[in-house]
Amino acid sequence: MPYGYAGKVLRIDLSTGSVTTEPLSEELTERFIGGRGFVAKTMFDEIPAGVDPYSKDNRFVIASGPLSGHFLPASGKTHFGTKSPATGGYADSNMGGHFGPALKYAGYDMMVLTGCAESPSYLFIDDDRVEIRSADAYWGQGSLVVEKQMKEDLGEDFQVLTIGPAGENRVRFACISHDFGRQAGRTGVGAVLGSKNIKAIAVRGTGSLPVFDVDAAFAAGKAAFQQVYTKPGFTGWTPEGTAGITDWTNEVGVFPTRNFQTSHSDHYKAINGQEILKQIKITDKGCYCCPTPCGKYGKAVTAMGSAYMEGPEYETIALFGGSCLLETIHEVAYANYLCDELGLDTISGGAVVSWAIECLEKGILTEEQTGRPLAFGDLETVDYLLRKIAARDGIGDLLAEGVKIASEKIGGGSDRFAIHVKGLEWTGYESRNAPSMMLAYMTADVGAHHNRAWVLGHDVAGSATNVHDLITAGGKGEKLPKAPVTEDSADFVIESQNTRPLFDALGVCRLQFMELGFEPENYEKLFYVITGKMLSWQEMLKVSERIWQLTRAFSAREIAPFGRHLDFPPPRFYTEPVPSGPNAGHHVTREEVDTLLDWYYQKRGWTDQGVPTRETLEQAGLPEIADALEAAGLYS
């Protein structure tokens, strides 16, 4: 059994009820490390080409990494992968909390679900005991309610993940919830679980993980924690967590506002991290072994109701406080709660709601269609639409498709301000005057997500730097010149795309590195003492690049027609100047977007349609993937 890993793969065929285990393949660990790498390879190999994401033949893969569950900072990450109902291509979503480590202690590095349960079910995993059980008692209920009930029914020491009504009803941006506030939010992973009739997975693990040198690993872990404590961000960044970036994003003009019409909000001081601490927070809430908990658990009190919830984190602030223009931190937090309970991604949820409001303002949707007036800055609008979406009721059935499909259905030019890439809604960084970040969104493998590459440091400060240093330096709120579009944007994006997703393969949180500046080279030592394998950070980055080529190949195989059109931002971003704020008057041009893609494709070794070439795949150590793309006719 390879050190560091739990050693087994758990396979469940939901159609037949078959539960089997197999040893974790050593080849898989060597070529793909874990987590995101395991997910991507399993998806490419096992999902039949061209299947509907809701088909029983789609796979749902859960994997932790070799460092997950071990004694080192923030080792609580779990990765989920499936063919995306949002994009039709590669989908994954990453979650903190405690689930992945528990699955490892139960003995499983990876879990592969196939088929479809006959009736609503949940998966019960207690070490070697694995059962598909009836979920009749839980189906139809909210994510938070079900998690609490299942912990009461099964035991406090079970780690539980759930989907809400949105997942059951196949909303294309339904999430997976865990630990009363952690989510695998993006790409519709919750909808695929719902399509398989799986309401929840409960796991308890009581086993030990094999370690190459346990004394050295314990010592190296202690040293790593001590090193984190010395970083300025440990005391400076942790108190507010991700919400601490709200002031900065407004002051440098990248805060999505009114469905990304502009890029700063006048009321940002009312919805920032300080207001969370003053008005909402009860406790910091950490993921497994995390010394810098970004989770802020608290209570929202609004005219629409009160609720306990974790958050809001920055992304939720950006999409509900900015894009939907909710005015107070309590209102943003309440929207956060609604999404969590209903099982909706707060990012896509906020983006879809704000798109619908703009459609009504522009007369593309009517009040007859929406069922009531909709307005920016109105919590009743948000509450109404989120509940409709989760139930796929009335206007909610259209909006549950996400802005890409919904805009294609209603037309009227609504695609111009449907803010997405590939069908995945854009996250919390408006990038019309941030060409590197724009390219990062355009080329992220899952669609418009910031977590593959976050390069605003390059756009704003001219260099790679950690978030704590950026926000400490602050933004000036002054009018900014148009950012030059230069070739090194592609280099920055590729470097970041190789670096950040590597943490998802290792099974640890990237925020120690990204937010605090904890040096990634520290993971060489930790990796060695835990797994016994000597792998330099540079060698790990090579694996990460291999995974990137693989996820692109998956989407190239699955999305037809595949091509560079899929990497374009919405027309708003290359035709409408930002109307106000620090970046007023600026936007990237269509030609600049094309040029950015040319540079990027060339450096990635892709064709002018964005397909990895045979040579590129072979250099990345993926000859079998090149063969598969050739067989799929992508090289003809």
């Binding site: 569950g69 071990h70 004694f71 609580g76 405690h98 202690y105 938070l144 609490k148 406090e156 020491d157 630990d179 009363f180 506030g181 693990g205 009581t206 086993g207 030990s208 993980l209 370690v211 346990v214 004394d215 690993a217 314990f218 202690k222 924690f225 984190v228 404590y229 009860i282 406790t283 910091d284 809430k285 950490g286 993921c287 497994y288 072994c289 995390c290 010394p291 810098t292 908990p293 989770g295 658990y297 608290g298 209570k299 609720a307 306990y308 919830m309």
Partner: protein, 135 residues
């Protein structure tokens, strides 16, 4: 010395439990930890740290006197004397006497202090008993 919990500092990360298992068993296995973290969610939305206070109630109820205090006041279980009756496990007011899956011999905290040293937030502290009594 005693362990003291400052509940409001706990973020539920569980690093204390992993450190406990590593120090006492040399295993990456927090289910063996000799302390508990209770998350109270959704309401009231906080954590409670359950620690051995070396109160000695386990020793008082042990029918065969297998649990005795050492010279530092730390209660230790003599495995040879223990009859695995489970009375201490059931009696512990903090729920931190643990019985493993493979052995019915209970385990308890011996005040090694690794949980306190590992906690990133000072939610568990190893303090002089006098100091605690003075608070």
């Amino acid at each position: 010395m005693e362990l003291r919990a400052i509940h409001e500092r706990c973020s539920g990360c569980g690093v204390c439990k992993l450190a406990c298992a590593l120090e006492n068993y040399r295993e990456v296995n927090p289910s063996k930890a000799l302390l508990r973290i209770e998350g109270r969610f959704p309401a009231p939305g906080d954590y409670r740290v359950h620690l051995c206070t070396q109160c000695g109630e386990c020793a008082e109820v042990c029918p065969v006197e297998a649990i005795t205090p050492d010279e530092d006041g730390i209660y230790r279980i003599d495995e040879a004397t223990c009859t695995e009756c489970g009375t201490c496990f059931e009696t512990c007011p903090h729920g931190v006497i643990m019985v493993g899956k493979t052995s019915a011999v209970p385990s308890k905290c011996i005040l090694c202090g690794e949980c306190a040293r590992a906690c990133p937030r000072g939610a568990i502290q190893l303090v002089e008993t006098e100091e605690k009594e003075g608070v």
